[in-house]
């Protein structure tokens, strides 16, 4: 059979029509989305809305990663799961939902990890990390390691360790189970994660390739207005959303600087003990 002249199926033109007609996406951006793969770590309050909008937008391959099972106490905020899925793994529950929402996407699964391990892996693989968290009435969002320049290049975006070289004392860390969480608070942060990921991918500027002349990362202009931004949200504040200028890479960062001590080898060998590093916080509850 003949190869189609059209870069998308007619089903896809119809499905993505409302974003295809926007200059910020267009056919080129849609093809970037289709060619991209995203790993979602945790299918909880953040991951549920994030993955729904990413699958909806047509990200080609989505990895899902969560070791937990659906509980009733999840359902006020983890809106892909439902009452009939209680006791089923969150990954399986999410895939049920996502395949119905958009069968054009490929879904895969993996096992979860801690924030530091996730950030270190992103740095070593040259991938940006769209990170968010939420507790009670507050939320935070940061894009780390963007642009994803090589280890040692101070013009790359800061990594999680640049911002938090030391983990907080375990007694200062509350989980959603202890502190509580309003569903739409974590929901907003998850949707905003999807938005940041779509903006990065559709722009085509995410691709950071090693060339003979060093790294290239698209047409990204590095003027000040493009400096990496963080967002903090406080639902009951008179200024609920605050954007802030993020720091630069840290010259002595253990992961992304020329003094890095974290390498592919140290990750593979397991010589880094992330659970110990973070004290009593278990990797899952620290997500």
């Amino acid at each position: 059979s003949k190869v189609s002249q059209w870069p998308l199926l007619s089903e896809e033109y119809e499905r993505y029509g409302r974003q295809l007609i926007m200059p910020e996406v267009g056919l080129k951006g849609q093809l970037h989305l289709k060619g991209s793969s995203i790993l979602i770590i945790g299918i909880g309050g953040l991951g549920c809305p994030a993955v729904a909008y990413l699958a909806g937008a047509g990200v080609g391959t989505i990895g899902l990663c969560d070791g937990d099972y659906v509980e009733r106490s999840n359902l006020h905020r983890q809106i892909l799961h439902n009452t009939y899925k209680i006791g089923i793994s969150k990954v399986d529950s999410a895939i049920d939902y996502l395949k119905a929402l958009n069968p054009n996407v490929t879904y895969c699964t993996d096992t979860p990890a801690s924030r530091y391990l996730i950030s270190d892996t992103c740095v070593l693989l040259g991938k940006p990390l769209v990170s968010a968290s939420a507790l009670q009435t507050n939320g935070q969002l940061n894009v780390f390691n963007f642009p994803a320049r090589p280890v040692g290049d101070l013009t790359g975006g800061p990594c999680y360790r640049c911002m938090f070289p030391k983990p907080p004392p375990p007694e200062s860390v509350l989980t959603c189970g202890e502190g509580g969480i309003l569903g739409p608070v974590v929901g907003v942060m998850g949707v905003l994660q999807a938005l940041e990921a779509i903006k990065l991918i559709a722009s085509g500027n995410i691709h950071c390739r090693l060339t003979d002349q060093g790294y290239s990362d698209g047409e990204r202009v590095s003027d000040d207005s493009q400096a990496p931004q963080g967002l903090i949200f406080s639902a009951y504040s008179s200024t609920p959303f605050r954007s802030f200028k993020m720091r630069r890479r840290r010259g002595n960062c253990a992961a992304c600087s020329s003094h890095a001590i974290i390498t592919r080898e140290s990750l593979r060998s397991g010589s880094m003990d992330y659970a110990q590093f973070c004290g009593a916080i278990s990797p899952i509850s620290a997500l």
């Binding site: 507790l135 004392p169 200062s172 989980t175 969480i181 974590v186 802030f244």
Partner: protein
């Protein structure tokens, strides 16, 4: 804005100091504090963010768990400090010299999701 409230003449700096992300619990659950600090410290040097952190610990914080705010002479790991909506690293961290009407925001980073 609020130019009339500036009072460098009396060698006092007024600041807006905010706490969020749950950190306000350590400060009587008040998210927004209007503070007046001396413009110079005992050594006649301009007061810095380090001075402010010390001042908050000694004069503002009622909670006894100081270690949840400071450790090893600076804000504890896991607290982000924003000076006028920029990470304090971009402004010189603790040695940043406070300016009238500065906005200093302390955010406890969250780990839930």
């Amino acid at each position: 804005m609020a130019e009339a409230e500036k009072s460098e003449a009396q060698d006092v700096i007024t600041l807006k100091v905010e706490f969020t992300g749950g950190l306000e619990m350590l400060f009587s659950n008040i998210k927004e504090h209007k503070l007046s600090l001396p413009a110079k410290d005992e050594q006649d040097k301009a007061t810095t963010v380090n001075y402010l952190v010390d001042y908050l610990c000694k004069k503002v914080m009622k909670d006894r768990r100081k270690e949840l705010f400071v450790q090893d002479g600076t804000v504890r790991p896991g607290i982000l400090v924003l000076i006028n909506d920029a990470d304090w690293e971009l402004e010189g961290e603790g040695s940043y010299e406070l300016q009238p009407e500065d906005n200093i925001l302390f955010v406890s980073t969250l780990h839930g999701g």
